[in-house]
Symmetry: C2
Subunit: 404 residues, 2 copies
């Protein structure tokens, strides 16, 4: 045997590193009230530190299988296909490469930053995008969608909606537009970017006859960021299966992933790429909590919290970006800074232990802020997160010289 | 305010769920000695449960910035560009879409399953792939690479090597082939799939003049799965910048990510897609541990562990898949089942608390097993992981009727 000089574990240095990291993180934890990542339940965080487990371990396979089944239940579907990958929410847009072919007509209903980006993603995969734009704070109406369909002389392959645009807090009319599209153009795929909506906004996959829901774990789904969560209808999967040209993407290719999802759901081992085992465990906990609470109760709780939140804003004389209640998200609110207040508000609140987010949609970004009210912060009122964010907002505005 | 009926937190049901999950996981934890995910340090797991933190929180930005800097150090580079994304190791292959254009000639040196798949990925993005295949257990020689270059009458855009093919445990001759390629065809990009090699196998990015290293967190890098870790040379980035056709991929597009990596390294907020915050914290801990231990010490420790492991195999009369020591990985070993023993060995060892992996490369998969010996299990000998896996292997073989 060769003999080499290997130092023993450098304990002192590691302790020092650990203290360094603690200073950077846990000790300075602020209540995270941005529109995702949201605050996570202790049990979810505990599952994040599950020891190393093989991705084909007989203990892990049923956990992933149950995650697939519970995801289907959360979007209120019986037979749609969840596809849960290691990646961010953005990777869900990418997966539309499976149903888009060169020259396909797509209507993108656009209510902010995320509509712009989704359209750009679809163009990468060959789509010809017709964007429906509305003034900031407004939603896209069925009437506008009708006009778009009439203006396009070819079959429309897909229409996309941002259920809640995280950049503006505008709630799309998914139910109304889906009903129109299904009647007017039954073959058009109805694709919902619901990253900031699943498990907080009313969304009925089967009843509304949706084709794809795109989400991610770190918002109302209540687990840390790192999983792309897509649910596809059998109609969407048929479109993928009948495509004429190869999928222009490797990692997002459903041909690779559908057999893997089927295998885990059948409680059998399978491998294409290593799943994020610990995140799957954490997601299992949060999905279990969501289903134990009840989906209809989730919708109701978020509706109530958003009413409470907007009442507090009105009391402070603040104006949401969403122009009226019908187009206001229930899981987050974007708010215009009042006269004399600017992005200093975010730092002011952070200094008092509450993290909110600045604006995101240019050129308006410097003029508004965003607060998340979803998931744990809404469903466990004992934690008083909503009260705290309102109290700190009130105090911070006052400290910055604003008078309601 | 609307009044809705929301149940209080259903505590009993949640406790029940938690016990259910514990039964499925922690209580049945087996020592994870597959070739990744590997066993994780307690401090790494603790960082996984960092509470919710904004991806642009002033506390998080320097953590991500340091992760980028430490990743560069781990591959022994001064100026290469790390790109750390939410995704699996496979997503690193996908990122080659940034430098490949339709019709580009690529040589894929193939020593197992992962070479096949990498080639398939590159073809998706338009590459014309020339695969160099060798019998199972053998490495690709410089001579074979020379022949491939001679057979291709056009400039070769890229050559790929699997540093350690996780399916066979064969260690590629990265140093030798890179030296030949750089001299013979200086513009050819040298791309190393080092998912199962970074921080366990000798790899010198700058000294060997490598262009891309592709890795992932769950092997010798010592953090749970869920991050794609790519390091690109300035030469590779120039090739991306000077490409003539658009990148055929949205999520993996370096145009989106390079500004984000630059921002985090400059300790400034930036956003394209939400990073996997908790995984970044965990990766920070494992990178800190790796650098504290020392890269050269890591190489030496893995060399020593592999010698020890192969000696134990020889003692048992078992034969590694890698045909000789020069092509045997230091972080894992694939081993032929001896006469009379088959895949039952994996279950037999699992029953005694040690998880190993079966074969992966068809048609040989039913005829061999794989054991990981990397990261924590090698660098902290006090844990006696290597001794345990050898002891349980010995006992299990005996229980299955095998006599050395």
């Amino acid at each position: 045997m060769t003999s080499v000089s290997i130092p023993s574990r450098p304990v002192d240095r590691l302790v020092q590193l650990k203290n360094h990291l603690s200073t950077m993180t846990q000790k300075q934890h602020k209540l995270c009230m941005i529109p995702g990542p949201v605050e996570f339940h202790e049990d979810v965080l505990e599952a994040m530190s599950t020891p190393a487990t093989s991705h084909v371990d007989p203990n892990f396979i049923p956990v992933f299988g149950e995650v697939i089944e519970m995801t289907r239940k959360v979007v209120l579907s019986q037979a749609a296909q969840p596809i849960i990958l290691s990646g961010s929410g953005t990777l869900g847009w990418d997966q539309m490469c499976n149903v888009i072919e060169e020259g396909d007509e797509v209507i993108v209903t656009n209510t902010g930053y995320f509509g712009d980006r989704f359209g750009e993603c679809l163009e990468t995969y060959g789509a010809h995008v017709t964007a429906i734009r509305v003034p900031v704070g407004h939603r896209v109406t069925v009437e506008k969608v009708k006009e778009a369909f009439e203006s396009i002389k070819k079959p429309v392959k897909m229409i996309t909606m941002t259920h809640v645009d995280t950049s503006t807090g505008v709630l799309g009319d998914v139910k109304g537009i889906a009903a129109y599209v299904r009647q007017h153009s039954p073959e058009t795929l109805i694709v919902i970017d619901a990253v900031c909506a699943v498990a907080s906004e009313e969304l009925r996959f089967d009843e509304w006859d949706i084709d794809v829901v795109i989400s991610a774990t770190q918002k109302a789904l209540g687990a840390p960021p790192g999983l792309s969560v897509v649910v596809a209808s059998q109609r969407a999967i048929k479109v993928y299966e009948n495509r004429k040209t190869p999928v222009r993407n490797y990692y997002s290719n459903w041909g690779k992933w559908l057999p893997i999802m089927a295998a885990y759901e059948a409680r059998k081992p399978a491998y294409f790429a290593t799943p994020a085992v610990q995140l799957i465990y954490a997601f299992h906990v949060s999905l279990s909590q969501i289903l134990a609470y009840g989906i209809e109760n989730r919708f109701a709780a978020h509706r109530e919290a958003s009413v409470q939140f907007r009442m507090a804003l009105a009391h402070l004389g603040l104006k949401p970006v969403a122009v009226d209640e019908t187009c206001a998200a229930n899981g987050m609110t974007a708010v215009w800074y009042p006269e004399g207040v600017d992005a200093k508000l975010v730092a002011q609140m952070a200094g008092q232990g509450v993290q909110i987010a600045g604006g995101l949609l240019q050129p308006h970004a410097p003029n508004y802020f965003r607060i998340g009210h979803m998931g744990l912060s809404v469903c466990d009122p004992n934690r008083k997160h909503i009260k705290k964010v309102i109290d700190v907002l009130t105090a911070s505005l006052s400290q910055l010289g604003y008078k309601a």
